[in-house]
Each structure stands twice: as structure tokens, then as C-alpha cells.
């Protein structure tokens, strides 16, 4: 009896155990069984294709192979890592670091260890997989971003990269590829698309048995940019031809559509698409020329003589003077007990507004500046779009600075001195602006007072066809008096077409108008002190322009880094403008003749933008400091 009872009790205990497992906890175990043998593989969505304004493809996607480790059934992760690294010919420690970074994630989530694997790597890995040596390694075909060759418009497009910890959330999962800079970053949501998924049955070795279902990935939105490929190419060719770095922002002054966006030197966004390797990243960061800096919106420089346009506008619109107001320049003038020189030693004689712009006469603008006072200059700089941010749809824009009494009080707790206004009047002192803001300023002057917001998106294909993107609101609208407009346009036209400094941008019949300027890198006295160091102390050159003079269609800025003379940027502008009109009229696009053998001109041209304000030590030195490369 004892035996029977104990056996029955043992079996009852077994039955109860099975009841608990199979009935009470069934749901939990069923789920575990499902996750055991079903695996969800993410199908990366291709990012949206970027087109230029004429429908030419700028940025697209290509197929690439990515190699990942799925730890779900891995018994010896170290062995897998070592074997994979040796099979694929990559550094073990690199793979280990990647795996370590993702260690906390669920084990079924693949860890991508090699992006954009080569065909030979894929072949070697697949051979081992079939031998069951690397069952936990997954090779997937994924779309990868492809940018135009030659690092074209690199800072405009930006680059993509694996989402950082702070970017994860709101639909962005760990390991997702997101835009890290430029348009890729600002419009990441549009471009990212929606990853799909494949559910497959795998066996205990991780080998795929069959597919259960697939949610296809949704490609990112196709986006049409305002950029014109041919103009972009013309500008970049122009810089290459001229042989210096810098920035350019050229747009349609009527609506703020950016046609060309250049920042040089650039990086190749393709290097980032497959996960940038350490060496490239380190060298990009260590490069003295700072290729990662987006100069057009992040570089701040003294505007030099281009600022005279602001002072002229302010004086005319405030009603202080008429275009016929004349000043006699004798090579310099006294203000607040000090003598300020004009660049032309003998002086310009008696000049009116138009000729003062054409000749870039310092004394004329000292006088206007003195009449205006710094606050009215600041007000008009703001109206024209030169102060603050332009509002362009790119990340990390720097603010341009045009001083005012309030600003100085707030910043330094000091009173503004009238003498400082005199240097501000010719774009020196503490004026410090980005190339983008100068482009907005010249556009506002070109269109007669409407401060447009530069923008980069023209249309978005939301899946149901192209929808024109709503352009950003006009930032400010001040209708210039007709006389103001006429005088400014006339003066700026004369810079290029009469006896001014912009002759290199002259195109017969196109009525190009413009103004050169020089951004001092360091004051004359600082130059003495810095002699012998390896800093590049050569000045930067500006060229702002629009065309044609009446009803301008294209306007912008060429910034030449350490090119010493603003007029050296004019040929770049000329090439872009010629390309613009040739394209508009269906003519063959102009091309630049091969780079000529550099033959320095026998007699150096007198550059009116080089202002000899030797006495301005403290302020000029401060300006030099803010414009020195490396401080912004």
C-alpha cells in the first residue's frame, strides 16, 4: 500500500507541475518559444533621395553589405568576435569595442560590426557561416548613402551616422542611421523613412529556415533642393581655379532660394556613410584647415568695405543725406580728436554717394557713420539681415554681430565711444559677420528692402507627388525709397563696370553689381607680434554681388580665405553668373580655362579695402582676435 500511495503521489506531483507549466504559465512560455525561433530582422529604409532644383539627382542610395553579430544563440562571443575579425581582416579591438558599446541591448538585436563590407569579406564570412563556424553572424544587404563625387556641397548635405545615445527615442532606435549634420540632420525626419522588418524562423544554430512575413521598408521622402547643380559646380570649379579656400552662398534675392552653397575645404560625406573610420575622423579633426567647419554659417569675419553698403543704406533711408551728398576726401579726416586715414594717400577729392561706393572712399563713410551713430548703423544692419542669424535651414548657425551701445553696455558694461563708430562705418572694429549674413544683406539691397530667409528645400514628395514646400516667412520688409535703391545699385554697378575694384566680375550686357571687401585677420600691430609663428595672417577677401542691376535674379557672396584681396573672388562670381544666364537662356554652359601658370602682376594693385588704421590698436586687435581662424 505504501508503495502504491507513494507512486500515485509522485505522479500527482508531476501532473501538477505540468499543469503549472502548461496551463498557468503557458502564455509566458509560448512567447519565449516564439522569440526563440522567430527572429525579426530590421530592413533598413533607404533615405530619401535629394534632387537639385532641376530634378538632377544629388544624393542617392546604393546597395551595400553590412555584417552583424546576433548574440541570441552565441555560446562564446569572444570566439565569434575573434574569428569574424580574422576572417574579415579587420582589427579585433575595433569589433570588440563595437560589441561592448551595444552589450546592454537585447541579444536578438543584431550588432552591426562592419558597414559597407567588401565583396571579398562577404564571401569569406558566408563560407564560414555555411560551415557552421559563424552561425551567429548575419550578412545583410542594406542601402547606403551615396553623395556626389569630389565632396561637392559637403557642408550643405552634411553626413549620416549611427544615432548617438542622446538621439535615440521617438522612432529612432539604437543602431539607426540618422543625419548628423547639414540637410541630412535638419530634415532627418523627412529623409529617414521607416525601417521595415522581416520575421523569419531560425533553428537553434541561428540558421534561417523560412520567412514568416515581411513589412517592406518605407523609403524616406524625396526632397527637391533649391540648389542648382550647375551653379554649385561652377562655384566650386571657380574656387579650385582661383586656388584658395573659402565659402560662397548664392541665392535668388527675390525669394531666398539658395542656389549655391560652398564651404571649402570640405570633407567627403561618403566617408561617413559606411561609418567613418577612426583615422579619417582624427585627421579631419586635426586638420589645420578645419574641413569640418561650415564656414558659410559658422565662420565669422570682419566684413570690411562690404559694410559700407549698410552705412550708405542707413544714411539714405534715415534721411540724413541724399545720394548727391558730397564729402571732400583729402586722404583722411579728423574725428573725436584723432586722424583717420583713407586708403588713397592723396584722397579722392569731392565725391558723392555713388562715387564713394565705387571708389570705396573711407572718409565719405567715416562722415556718414559719424552722422548716423552706431545704433542707427546697427538698426540698418539688422534690417538688411546682417545682424543675428539668417535663419537658414542648416544646423549650428553662428550669429553675426554688429555692435550697438546697448550691446557694449551689456557685454562689457562700458559706454560706447564715438570714435568706435568711425571704424564700424568701414566694417572694422567689432563687426563680425558670417558669409551667409552678407549674402542676405546683399540680397536685401538687391531686391529693394525685403530681407528674405535663405532656405534649401523647394519641394517634398510626400508619397503622393511633389508638394512645393512652404518657404520661410520674410524676416523683415522695409521698402527702400526709389532714390536709395537707384543710388545703391548705381554705385555697386560702377564698382564692377566703371573704375571700381570689381572689374573682374564684369560681364558685358549682364550689368553685374558688387562690392569687394577685406577682412583683416590681424591688426597691423598684431602682425608684427605674430611674425615668425606659423599662423596664416593673410587677410580674407570678400565679394558681394547681384545681377542684373535692375530686377536682380541672383545675388550672393564669395568669401576667399586668406586670399588677401576681395577682387580675387570676383571671377568666381562671374563664372557662376555666366553659368546662370547661359542656363536660363539655353546656351552652352561656360567653362573655365585650365589654371594658368601663376604669374604675379608686376605692379601690385592698390587695394582700397586695405585700410591703414594703424592707430586703432585696441579695437582692431579685438577685431583681429574675433576673426582669427580657430576662435569661432
Amino acid at each position: 500500500m505504501v508503495l502504491q500511495v507513494s507512486v500515485v503521489m509522485a505522479f500527482a506531483a508531476l501532473a501538477i507541475s505540468f499543469w503549472f507549466l502548461q496551463i498557468v504559465q503557458h502564455a509566458r512560455f509560448e512567447e519565449m518559444a516564439a522569440s526563440n525561433h522567430q527572429r525579426t530582422l530590421a530592413l533598413r529604409a533607404p533615405r530619401g533621395v535629394l534632387f537639385d532644383r532641376n530634378g538632377k539627382v544629388l544624393v542617392e542610395n546604393r546597395q551595400s553589405f553590412s555584417v552583424s553579430i546576433v548574440r541570441e544563440h552565441t555560446k562564446d562571443l569572444d570566439r565569434t568576435v575573434r574569428l569574424l575579425a580574422s576572417v574579415a581582416g579587420v582589427d579585433v579591438s575595433t569589433v570588440e569595442q563595437i560589441v561592448e558599446r551595444h552589450r546592454g541591448e537585447p541579444t536578438y538585436q543584431p550588432i552591426v560590426v562592419i558597414e559597407d563590407a567588401s565583396l571579398s569579406q562577404v564571401a569569406a564570412i558566408m563560407a564560414r557561416r555555411l560551415d557552421f563556424e559563424l552561425p551567429d553572424v548575419l550578412v545583410q544587404q542594406v542601402p547606403m548613402r551615396q553623395y556626389p563625387p569630389g565632396a561637392m556641397a559637403a557642408h550643405l548635405f552634411g553626413y549620416v551616422g549611427e544615432a548617438s545615445d542622446s538621439q535615440i527615442g521617438e522612432g529612432i532606435t539604437s543602431g539607426a542611421i540618422v543625419g548628423q549634420s547639414g540637410i541630412e540632420r535638419v530634415y532627418n525626419r523627412l529623409l529617414m523613412g521607416q525601417d521595415g522588418a522581416r520575421r523569419v524562423v531560425v533553428n537553434s544554430m541561428g540558421r534561417e529556415i523560412r520567412e514568416i512575413g515581411e513589412i517592406p521598408p518605407v523609403e524616406g521622402r524625396r526632397v527637391q533642393l533649391t540648389i542648382d547643380y550647375d551653379l554649385q559646380k561652377a562655384a566650386e570649379d571657380g574656387f579650385r581655379h582661383a586656388g584658395f579656400n573659402g565659402a560662397a552662398l548664392i541665392m535668388d534675392p527675390r525669394n531666398g532660394e539658395v542656389l549655391t552653397y560652398v564651404s571649402l575645404p570640405a570633407y567627403d560625406p561618403n566617408d561617413f556613410a559606411g561609418g567613418i573610420d577612426r583615422a579619417t575622423w582624427v585627421s579631419l579633426n586635426a586638420d589645420k584647415l578645419r574641413p569640418l567647419q561650415n564656414r558659410a554659417i559658422q565662420g565669422r569675419y570682419s566684413p570690411g568695405s562690404t559694410f559700407k553698403i549698410v552705412v550708405a543704406t542707413a544714411a539714405l533711408e534715415e534721411g540724413l543725406v541724399t545720394p548727391d551728398f558730397r564729402v571732400s576726401c583729402g586722404g583722411g579726416a579728423n574725428f573725436f580728436g584723432r586722424y583717420y586715414k583713407c586708403w588713397l594717400r592723396g584722397g579722392h577729392g569731392s565725391v558723392d554717394m555713388r562715387h564713394a561706393i565705387e571708389q570705396s572712399c573711407n572718409v565719405y563713410f567715416y562722415t556718414l557713420g559719424n552722422m548716423l551713430g552706431v545704433d542707427r548703423i546697427h538698426k540698418w544692419a539688422e534690417n538688411l539681415g546682417l545682424a543675428g542669424k539668417t535663419g537658414i535651414d542648416l544646423p549650428n548657425e553662428q550669429e553675426s554681430l554688429v555692435p550697438s551701445t546697448a550691446w557694449k553696455q551689456q557685454r562689457y558694461g562700458e559706454k560706447w565711444y564715438g570714435g568706435e563708430t568711425i571704424s564700424v562705418a568701414i566694417g572694422q572694429g567689432q563687426v563680425s559677420v558670417t558669409p551667409a549674413s552678407l549674402a542676405v544683406m546683399i540680397s536685401t539691397v538687391a531686391n529693394g528692402g525685403t530681407r528674405v530667409t535663405p532656405h534649401l528645400i523647394r519641394a517634398v514628395d510626400d508619397g503622393g507627388g511633389w508638394k512645393i514646400a512652404t518657404p520661410p516667412a520674410v524676416a523683415n520688409k522695409t521698402l527702400f525709397r526709389p532714390s536709395t535703391l537707384a543710388a545703391l545699385h548705381e554705385g555697386l554697378w560702377m564698382v564692377v563696370n566703371a573704375h571700381g575694384t570689381g572689374g573682374r566680375a564684369r560681364i558685358p550686357g549682364r550689368d553685374v553689381a558688387g562690392k569687394t571687401g577685406t577682412a583683416q585677420v590681424i591688426s597691423n600691430q598684431g602682425r608684427q607680434a605674430a611674425r615668425g609663428t606659423d599662423r596664416d595672417l593673410r587677410d580674407h577677401g570678400w565679394f558681394v554681388f547681384f545681377a542684373p542691376r535692375d530686377n536682380p535674379e541672383i545675388a550672393g557672396v564669395i568669401f576667399g580665405e586668406h586670399n588677401e584681396h576681395g577682387y580675387l573672388g570676383a571671377p568666381i562670381a562671374k563664372h557662376v553668373i555666366e553659368t546662370y544666364f547661359a542656363k536660363k537662356e539655353g546656351l552652352p554652359l561656360p567653362s573655365l580655362e585650365p589654371v594658368p601658370v601663376p604669374a604675379p602682376p608686376p605692379v601690385p594693385e592698390a587695394d582700397p579695402d586695405l585700410t591703414p588704421i594703424d592707430e586703432q590698436t585696441p579695437i582692431a586687435a579685438a577685431a583681429g582676435a574675433t576673426t582669427a581662424p580657430g576662435t569661432n
Binding site: 508531476l14 501532473a15 502548461q22 504559465q25 516564439a34
Partner: protein, 361 residues
């Protein structure tokens, strides 16, 4: 030898239940191994030979067999020694005698042999009580094959000899206090055994049993997978050949040690209850045979055979549910394995033998 009237005393119920379990096992092996493989064929041969062995064990009077028990015992010891010296090595242990087309695992036959020799020893004793000398003799008879098997090493099978000895000694009238003393000794010996007698992998298995999640990829893996397999079966199961756990090999050697898990996954709680019921019927029916046995020899023999069978069934099913440390213990009648099948069916031949001859002299 086989008298016609004996035919009427065959326990048909037991025989049918035993053969049904064989059939259920065969079906689950078919499912777990993914169809008509040579594993299924081997199992069919095993069942066939087993039935012949059962008939042979049935037809010879158990008393004549018991008279020859010492010879059988010595023969088995010889085979075990042979295995230790010349056996085929598989999976790190030496358990098989390689006969070309198939292998024999002598340790499986040691169980029934030990039952026979102990039944004979205590059945012959007329004293009705168990003396210390008797205990020492019984202990010795058990220890020799046990140590030989443990040396292979095959601790699982070695352990199944202990219930045989205990069952026979217990029904032979061993006082409870000696049983208690033995239990105490075993308890005290456990830590020493843990340290010296167990291999590393065995210690690991036991410690991961206590907390399977501490090593979900290693030894605890099988435990967790066993629970998932059983639990995911639910009340009605996933259906024949529809189990994912067994078929996709999340559960190792599903057709062998974990055949009951496969059954639980595919047939659900309902199937589990039916098979548990069959096993319970077989065991209770066999105990009934022991009770009805004409002599003590018969009763001891039945209980000896039944002890290792019951121990193995309960342990394996507990293990199949992930509730016991994983040991290489098969489920008699259902698991894949020719030697096990033949030995078990031979054992039931002896059980039927005793019941069949309860009226004969």
C-alpha cells in the same frame, strides 16, 4: 516450458500499456527527428528485438532464471569490464560495445540482472529479517556493477541501481532505522561527494539547476529550453510534428533524454496526462503483480525491476519539465535507444513471468 494454460494468465492489460508507450515514444521520435530517419528505424528494430526478448524472458520460469542468476550476474560484470577496457567511446564516455551495425550498452542490462540476483539472494533466505551480513552482501552485489558503470562514466545509469537495491532490501524486511541511518550517511556524504566524487560538468549541472539563469547559454540552457518546450505546449499542444522547440533543435537530443518534453510540446497537457496515466497504470499493475506473486523471489524480482523503472520514469519526466538537473537518464519505453528498450522490455517480460506463473508450482 511454456504451458498452454499459462497463456490465459498473461497480464494483457500491462502488456498493451507497455506496447502503447513504445508506440507513443516511436511517434514522438519520428516527430523530433524530422521524419523517417534511420533513428526511427533503429528504434523499430529495438522494439522488435525487445518484444522477442520479452517473450523469451516470459517463457523461461523465473525460478530457473533465478537459479542461474549468479552466472548472469558474472556475465554482466564481464561485459561491463569489457566495456571499460575496449568499449566504444562516444561523447566522452565509454558505454558501448561496438558490434558493427549496432551497439550494445551492457549497463542497461545490469539493472534487471541486479534485481534478479538480489531477489534470489533474499528470496532464498528463510530468516525473514535482514541481517547486517545480508546488507553487506547486498551492498557488495550492488556496488560492483555500480562502480563499474560509474567509471564509464555514466552516473545516471549507475544511480538507477540504487533504487533496485533499496526496493529489494526494503521489502525483504530491512528495519526502518537502518534505512534511516543509511539516509543520514548519504546526507553527510553529500558534501564530500560533491567535492571529490563529481566531475566538474556534474557540479556545474547541479549548481545551474539551482539557478538556471546564472548560465543561460551553458548548462542552464537545457533547463530553460526544457521549460519553454513544455510550457509552450499549452493545454492541447502544438500538434504532431508541429513543435518548434524540438524540431529546430533548441532542445538537445530531443529524441533521447527529452522525448517527454517533445510530447508535452506537441500533445499538450492532455497528452501528458494520458502518458502519465499509462506509466502509472504500468507501475501500479506491476506492484499488483508483486503482491500476487507466489513466492518472495517473484515479489522481490518484480519490485527490483520496477524500482529502477519507476525511478527513471519519475526522474526523466521531472527533468523533461526542467525541474531536475539534466542527467543522461532516458525515459524507459519512450526514449530512443535500443539497449534501453530491449533491457526494459526484458524486465517487463520478467514482471509478466512472475504474474503468469503465480498459480504454478
Amino acid at each position: 516450458m511454456f504451458e498452454r494454460r499459462l497463456y490465459h494468465h498473461v497480464d494483457w492489460g500491462l502488456l498493451i500499456a507497455v506496447l502503447t508507450l513504445c508506440a507513443v515514444g516511436l511517434a514522438q521520435i519520428y516527430s523530433a527527428t524530422g521524419g523517417w530517419t534511420n533513428i526511427v528505424q533503429t528504434q523499430i528494430y529495438g522494439i522488435g528485438i525487445g518484444i522477442i526478448a520479452l517473450l523469451v524472458a516470459l517463457s523461461i520460469d523465473y525460478r530457473s532464471l533465478a537459479d542461474k542468476s549468479h552466472l548472469i550476474y558474472v556475465a554482466i560484470l564481464g561485459l561491463l569490464l569489457y566495456v571499460l577496457l575496449f568499449g566504444a567511446v562516444r561523447g566522452g564516455s565509454r558505454r558501448w560495445i561496438d558490434l558493427g551495425s549496432f551497439n550494445i550498452q551492457p549497463s542497461e542490462f545490469a539493472k534487471a540482472t541486479l534485481a534478479l540476483v538480489l531477489a534470489k539472494f533474499f528470496g532464498d533466505s528463510r530468516r525473514g529479517i535482514v541481517t547486517r551480513v545480508d546488507l553487506l552482501v547486498a551492498g557488495g552485489l550492488t556496488a560492483i556493477p555500480l562502480l563499474l558503470i560509474a567509471q564509464q562514466p555514466d552516473l545516471g545509469t549507475a544511480a538507477t541501481l540504487i533504487p533496485v537495491a533499496f526496493a529489494v532490501v526494503y521489502v525483504a524486511g530491512m528495519p526502518m532505522r537502518i534505512l534511516g541511518a543509511l539516509a543520514l550517511v548519504a546526507l553527510l556524504a553529500a558534501p564530500i561527494g560533491w567535492k571529490f566524487a563529481l566531475q566538474d560538468y556534474q557540479r556545474e549541472r547541479i549548481s545551474t539547476f539551482l539557478d538556471p539563469s546564472q548560465d543561460a547559454r551553458g548548462a542552464g540552457y537545457q533547463q530553460i529550453q526544457a521549460r519553454i518546450t513544455v510550457g509552450s505546449g499549452g493545454p492541447w499542444g502544438k500538434g504532431f510534428t508541429e513543435g518548434t522547440q524540438g524540431q529546430l533543435r533548441f532542445l538537445p537530443v530531443a529524441h533521447n533524454d527529452f522525448i517527454f518534453s517533445v510530447l508535452a510540446e506537441e500533445q499538450g497537457f492532455a497528452g501528458v496526462i494520458v502518458v502519465l496515466g499509462l506509466y502509472l497504470f504500468v507501475i501500479l499493475r506491476s506492484i499488483e503483480s508483486a503482491r500476487l506473486a507466489k513466492d518472495r523471489l517473484g515479489a522481490y524480482l518484480v519490485l527490483g525491476v520496477l524500482a529502477s523503472f519507476t525511478f527513471q520514469v519519475i526522474y526523466n519526466i521531472t527533468m523533461s519539465a526542467g525541474l531536475a538537473p539534466v542527467k543522461g537518464l532516458t525515459l524507459p519505453l519512450m526514449s530512443y535507444g535500443g539497449s534501453s528498450m530491449i533491457a526494459t522490455l526484458t524486465g517487463f517480460g520478467l514482471v509478466l513471468n512472475v504474474r503468469m506463473r503465480r498459480f504454478t508450482n
